[in-house]
Symmetry: C3
Subunit: 273 residues, 3 copies
């Protein structure tokens, strides 16, 4: 693939970061137990306002005060699935952007079925997963190894495009390179750090950042590419200063808080394909 940096997109990405810090969008997460704390901290460091709530009884009230939604299936159970589906339907009904993070789809029937149901019947604004997860939604029969990908981003690109077209959504495949597509337009995001695979919930963190960007930008492809470029930039900066995964994650939160829109504009590695 031939890639070149899309300067105009990087400019817009910087503007979106400014807008998040100005508007401070409320991002509602129905997410897994493992990353509730870390993704709430990611949103706060970014300048957004997290809210975590899963009880069916309050989904409607929460939906009314939030600007975007993340559904993350990392630690599923029946009652939570019901809340997720209800929140997804409410988001669609109110034209509110929402991200589906199909953690471990392909690893168990319960996860694959839940991810596919939400993908097909509620049409997320964005589906963000690793290559194996995206493949498992695109075509039944793919396998994942626990919650890690056994496939490269490249292997999932064609399926991601087809899935994006058939569902009329944006699909993001994240990995050492990220691939974002709406079926017609596609972008690649470079940068990041291998250290991202040594900390739990970095994919989940990417998803909540995408949700924050969606809250301030209607072009879901642009919002998603901007979010992933910001995360890769911040991770790259943090990894340089870190001594291992512990200090790396501390650094990610610090860098996310400190990165300026101007710095992001100049360093967002969003590439056309």
């Amino acid at each position: 693939m031939r890639l070149c940096i899309v300067t105009e997109t990087a400019q817009k990405a910087g503007d979106l970061l400014s807008r998040i810090r100005e508007i401070r969008p409320v991002v509602h997460s129905i997410t897994n137990f493992v990353v509730m704390n870390s993704t709430a901290n990611v949103l706060l460091a970014l300048g957004a306002a997290p809210i975590m709530a899963h009880a069916l009884e309050e989904i409607e009230d929460i939906s009314a005060i939030s600007n975007s939604l993340v559904i993350n299936i990392g630690t599923l159970s029946s009652a939570w699935i019901e809340s997720m589906e209800s929140a997804a339907q409410l988001a669609r009904a109110s034209m509110k952007p929402f991200v589906l993070d199909p953690v471990g789809s392909g690893a168990t029937k319960l996860r694959t079925k839940t991810a596919c149901n939400i993908a097909r019947f509620s049409t997320p604004t964005v589906i963000r997963g690793n290559a194996s997860e995206i493949l498992s939604i695109a075509r039944v029969g793919s396998k994942t190894r626990g919650v890690d990908s056994v496939n490269s981003t490249e292997e999932a690109m064609e399926s991601a495009s087809t899935l994006a077209t058939s569902l009329n959504t944006v699909v993001a495949v994240t990995g050492s390179k990220d691939f974002v597509t709406d079926g017609k337009r596609s972008l690649v995001i470079a940068g990041g750090s291998p250290m991202m695979a040594c900390v739990t919930g970095t994919g989940c963190a990417a998803s909540v950042i995408v949700a924050a960007f969606l809250a301030v930008e209607k072009d879901a492809l642009l919002a998603t590419a901007s979010a992933l470029a910001l995360f890769k930039l911040v991770a790259e900066k943090a990894s340089i200063k870190s001594a291992g995964p512990g200090s790396f994650w501390v650094g990610v939160l610090d860098e996310l808080y400190n990165v300026t829109s101007e710095e992001f504009r100049l360093n967002a590695r969003i590439l056309s394909i």
Copy 2:
């Protein structure tokens, strides 16, 4: 408002910190998923012993071995409400101090109702919330924006006093300044850091520290003011050395562990009003 430091109270606050480290009180939390890890670490760094348990079947046994209780409604669901109410009743029956942290009260009917029910029918020793949360309990009709306050501490002071009087409890409104009242006596706590708003669960952390102080001091106003003054001192110290919210939180735990009673006595910014 005219404020001056209450030296005598600061002296006592220092003594209470020594007593916590000596007695190592067991603090039982029924709390939200987001802050379970971070508030357990806050209690350990302080010198107290955390225990997290929510199953109705073991509430009685846990109550029997714990010295104080925190009920935090940050990620509610029906089964948990039942356990919270049961634990609150047991605490009252055994004269054990307990803190209600009404996270997000005012944001959803479920939360407002749960917070009001526990506040009115179980009479917490202390209710600690941000301004919007306290207002939502004091007078039906106030709104909150997710879990953040849209009101200043000042706006909630009168309502807090009225609420404290009517429930015969201590009410603490935390924010850039903290206000603590039992309806007759009131104290203000200064210090802290804007960085506290950039990390999830700092309010929840304040609540567990209050519970630890309540375990060693019957005067709930003094215990609460001491706890909040300690947290503000520690946060201020941590923010000076930190590069962002990641290193700030690491610093909070380190400072909480290292702060001496003597240093606290000299620097507790507890003000009379």
Copy 3:
């Protein structure tokens, strides 16, 4: 007791660490809410692959793709107990190693009963707990103070040996010294740091490291001693550089990631008794 370092065992321990990083075993945890994030990060820093899943509907699928299992009863409820028992049975049926971490056993009837049931009817490969927890399983009637031990490792050594023999399993008592026994052979692990008691979930972290070692070594006594020796070494290194419990935990993850097999071989303090 007379102790001397077992050089041969330390050699093997180093080999096991290399094997974990090469094979990258999938460790399935059904664990408590407090430590889900921290223990997932411990496994990733070590070089293993964590998966957290508790829904009964997916236990069979998760079991099929994982190499070992941890059952940790730190925040119990009925539905979770059912999943734990099912996962334990599946592990036994498929000869997959599993660790029982009886958090708080002895503190409540629910926990003692759950721990004893799993210990007796599913025969864990390893039971790892603090002295009070192990005593509560070994002989009904022992008490624990919340989740902390009120007994020393020494007090639990005889009971641990008897328990190991009667269940035909390995029992590990962790504390300032760790004691590991299969009823016939026993080993002691020295090192570590008092700071380990100032951070939540260090016992739980020890258990997931044991599970990772069990995934690459059939001799459960050797695997357990190696795992505990690694954790003690890493904690000791981290505590030297840390300013308190916050930076200590960051350091633990960094050191776990950076420690080499060679360094571990030379510094594993596994002692014969």
